[in-house]
Symmetry: C2
């Protein structure tokens, strides 16, 4: 029957592509402001022109649709312009996580094979020894705020540099006709080092990002103005733009037409200055950054005037939530991961709140939250059966949503595992309350999250085991007020090596940092010598038992 | 390149179909309430079961996918259940506009060709003489609140009645496995009598309704809690559910998980009782209904405790807005039409409002508002060129959005005209301010909107011209405080018929009402005898000039 409902020949079928996010802002928000730290202010009208300019610059490079443009930058107006201009031109933006170890950063670039690299001059040391001649990178755009020249940085490959970003934009036309195309075209890719082995690439289509943006706006919109997003808010990211699209907020804030502030490299004084001077009212970050700005505020004797802050990436502890509320921050939890674009759940607030004690209020803010609209979240037991939402039974949190990565890039095996049974596996162990609140209780995979970045415990164990005195070693994550989690190493020394010290072992890890194999934050905070390590029934290290064992005995 | 990004075999592609709107509510809102006037209260948990029950009832009728299920009811829990169960079962819901003339109601049924008719016992007189034997309707479901039996109503066709709604649901299983299917499957259809000639059928796919729902939630969500939608709100429609999905709110409110109140047939005392007793906090209606409830409130000496109310369907006048605000109603404008599902624009409010006088505030509430997210709204001149947003130049408002009807059902010519040039033509004349606020100034088509319902002036003119004394007649709409607009007739009598009275002419219109040709509200409120009628340069009636001429000289 449905063939009766035929469309008019020139009816617009409306693909869900990123340029459509600008429709409202282009009409309503042309006077609104976008600010880059203390370096630049522009109107949305200028921003739209600059997107066209960047598109024209890229258009001059003879790229093919689907080619990758990699960006290595701190949070800037340039990054925001790339979020739009790159995918709107049918290229794929790779947001390079510059917090990984140098070795892994280069791995992600060699794996994604960008044709263009947009690189901030501050990362010159990192790319100095990079073998551009053996790389996919044909064109380099130099991003610079400090008058640093690219001369000498790229050696024999300097001819690949097409120029400095602002200089290139200045010469480009501010008109560009962005075409329509298939909404399933891939728009963005980046890498997650969440589990063992090499970083894995996730990827998202235009359709997925548009649906994520709409749902994020709806989910934060229907929170009361005190906690959610309303017209009048001022947005600033404090989760970097290379981290899962900065929670998708740059897209969402632009669609809504909010004033936006991009802080560059995160420094406590800069962040605090911008929050105060630009009247930032909504942001998101990991607990570590929250602690950083709290410290800065205490130093200055100021408070946050009701700043709304969504904590994600690591668990918000009750103590930290209490401290934030005392400093007049409306703090609460969002949950998501690289594979989920990222928004999955949010704390719930209502204009008709039930009565609750301060303790209940804080506990609610620290739970994992309720699934947002469109998300089908279930707790599965070992036989892929959904468990009841009784606030007790735990299992793996599995998901369906319109914006989940459909696999890992060139890694079919991992992709198949991710989607086993038709739901996306988070590898997080959780229960769900009768009111639909998720509480994550443990992790299936053996990883540690410190300051919002993943550390593979297996990788650290392998490195430490290279020390000749080590008979067995287990690295686990323990709760840490500042970093969320920190790795500690539990070591059994060989019988004849009992005089080996913690510093001896630590030296091995530090060498690995120097060689760029692991990031600095991968060096365990503590090395404990033990006589035995708990084992599971099948003889593996029982990390769960160790986490419980060591949770209260650490000095960190 | 994009073929590199292959999906895992069991990755869930997530079609945008109506059942997905329930994902969050099924987890988070099971205890929330849905209320049908003073007749029924149920939890969302019950509601989900009843959707399954209705699907099972329909499943027993051996319908094919794409078959139409027509609903004739006042605003009820049954209607809400049909909004979900019918399309989720891959049938098309026809929401029958029971305010049209009987002749046109039957026309819309004969045109959409439903297999199933769900009909409220209050409409028994209307269907009593309907020729079911020559109709597409094979099954009738009887909807009844008053203990009225269907015996005798359908004559020889009584065997088509499969039973009373509640009795049928009681016997049905409360489990139903709703399948996934193509998101472009048509979900709903209804008829607009906006222009001359027969009513025209618009139609919307699952994808379109999901995108409308998400954007409506986002657009109302990002308004401050004082005007927009937040968790904690209580929703009640006062625009009927047969009118453009009651502004899409039943879908939106369910997705968000709000408490919902359905008032049945609109009566001032029932509406007022429900607003007060159920603490309704958000609603939408035409100005006529607003006046009705304002009158009721004055009678009772109560106010509206900040009730949020979106006015659509007719222009909100400054006087009425002022009266509403004085009664503590947060009143403002939404714009849309049958062809647009309907949401296109909304008044804007901000948590950081610029200073404005009461007059400016009221004027803002009465403007047509700003385009909502995703909407590409332009003002076109006669040569389909977009005009600047200077607050002066007027042209036709044309649109792109993800939820516009792609044509008219079985009416390709009208569909082609609707979409001429790749944008949907609203037939509304408007200008746009530099801040992106639309102001509608006139109408391209010769229609009148009274109490939220369209009247074709051509049709009324044709009927009046049948009177032997009439030489020429023009029917125009003039502003009316109560009904928004009312038709008045300007008549030139034939030379020898100067003793014909207004009542003589009126009698012709009233006969047409009796015959079911035009609705009661189609009878002009005033009949003016004139010596000449203003003409355009090509000799047509100059309705614009007449509207201006008569605007201030009418007694209504």
């Amino acid at each position: 029957m449905s063939n009766h409902y035929s469309s008019a020949p020139s009816a617009y079928a409306y693909p869900l592509i990123i340029k459509q996010l600008l429709n409202r802002a282009k009409t309503v928000s042309t006077e609104q402001e976008i600010i880059y730290a203390d370096k630049m202010r522009m109107s949305y009208a200028d921003f739209f022109k600059r997107i066209a300019k960047l598109a024209n610059v890229l258009d001059g490079l003879n790229l093919a649709h689907g080619d990758v443009v990699a960006v290595m930058d701190w949070d800037s107006h340039r990054y925001l312009e790339s979020y739009f201009a790159v995918p709107m031109s049918q290229y794929v933006i790779q947001t390079v996580n510059i917090r990984l170890s140098p070795e892994k950063i280069l791995y992600t670039i060699n794996h994604a094979k960008p044709k263009v690299l947009m690189v901030n001059s501050e990362f010159a040391p990192l790319v100095k020894d990079y073998q551009f001649e053996n790389s996919s990178i044909e064109h380099i755009i130099w991003l610079d705020d400090n008058g640093v020249s690219y001369e000498g940085v790229f050696g024999g490959n300097e001819s690949r540099v097409i120029g400095e970003y602002e200089a290139l934009l200045e010469q480009a036309s501010d008109e560009f006709e962005f075409q329509d195309f298939d909404e399933n075209t891939i728009a963005s890719t980046f890498y997650t080092s969440g589990t063992t082995g090499d970083p894995k690439g996730v990827f998202f289509s235009h359709r997925q990002l548009v649906l994520h943006t709409l749902t994020e706006a709806a989910s934060l919109g229907v929170l009361p103005s005190k906690q959610g997003v309303s017209f009048g808010d001022v947005y600033m990211p404090m989760t970097p733009m290379f981290h899962v699209h900065a929670w998708g907020f740059p897209f969402t804030a632009t669609m809504i037409g909010l004033k936006q502030v991009y802080p560059g490299r995160y420094a406590p004084d800069t962040l605090m200055d911008l929050i105060l001077n630009e009247k930032v009212s909504i942001t998101h970050c990991v607990p570590t950054i929250l602690q950083m700005v709290l410290g800065e505020a205490h130093k200055r004797g100021v408070d946050f005037a009701g700043l709304k802050m969504i904590i994600g990436g690591s668990r918000l502890t009750e103590g930290l939530a209490k401290a934030a509320l005392a400093s007049n921050i409306e703090v609460y939890t969002g949950y998501g991961m690289s594979e989920t674009a990222p928004l999955i759940s949010l704390s719930k607030f209502s204009t008709a709140e039930p009565e609750m004690s301060e303790e209940e209020d804080i506990s609610r803010r620290c739970m994992t939250g309720n699934p947002v609209m469109m998300v089908d979240a279930q707790i599965w037991n070992d036989s892929d059966k959904a468990l009841p939402h009784d606030g007790k039974q735990t299992g793996e949190l599995v998901l369906r949503a319109p914006w989940l990565t459909q696999s890992y890039f060139k890694n079919d095996d991992a992709g198949r595992e991710l989607w086993e049974g038709g739901y996306m596996h988070t590898a997080d162990i959780a229960y769900m309350t009768p009111a639909g609140t998720i509480k994550i209780t443990d992790r299936l995979k053996d990883v540690i999250k410190s300051g919002g970045e993943w550390i593979s415990s297996l990788e650290i164990e392998t490195i430490l085991s290279l020390h000749p005195s080590v008979a067995d070693v287990a690295v686990i994550g323990v709760r840490d007020e500042k970093w969320g989690e920190r790795p500690i190493a539990a070591i059994i020394l060989k019988p004849n090596h009992k005089d080996t010290t913690a510093d001896d072992i630590k030296a091995v890890a530090e060498q690995a940092v120097e060689k760029g194999m692991i990031p600095k934050y991968g060096v365990p905070s503590e090395f404990k010598f033990v006589d035995e390590l708990p084992k599971t029934s099948v003889g593996k290290h029982d990390k769960k038992a160790m986490r419980e064992l060591f949770a209260d005995q650490t000095g960190i």
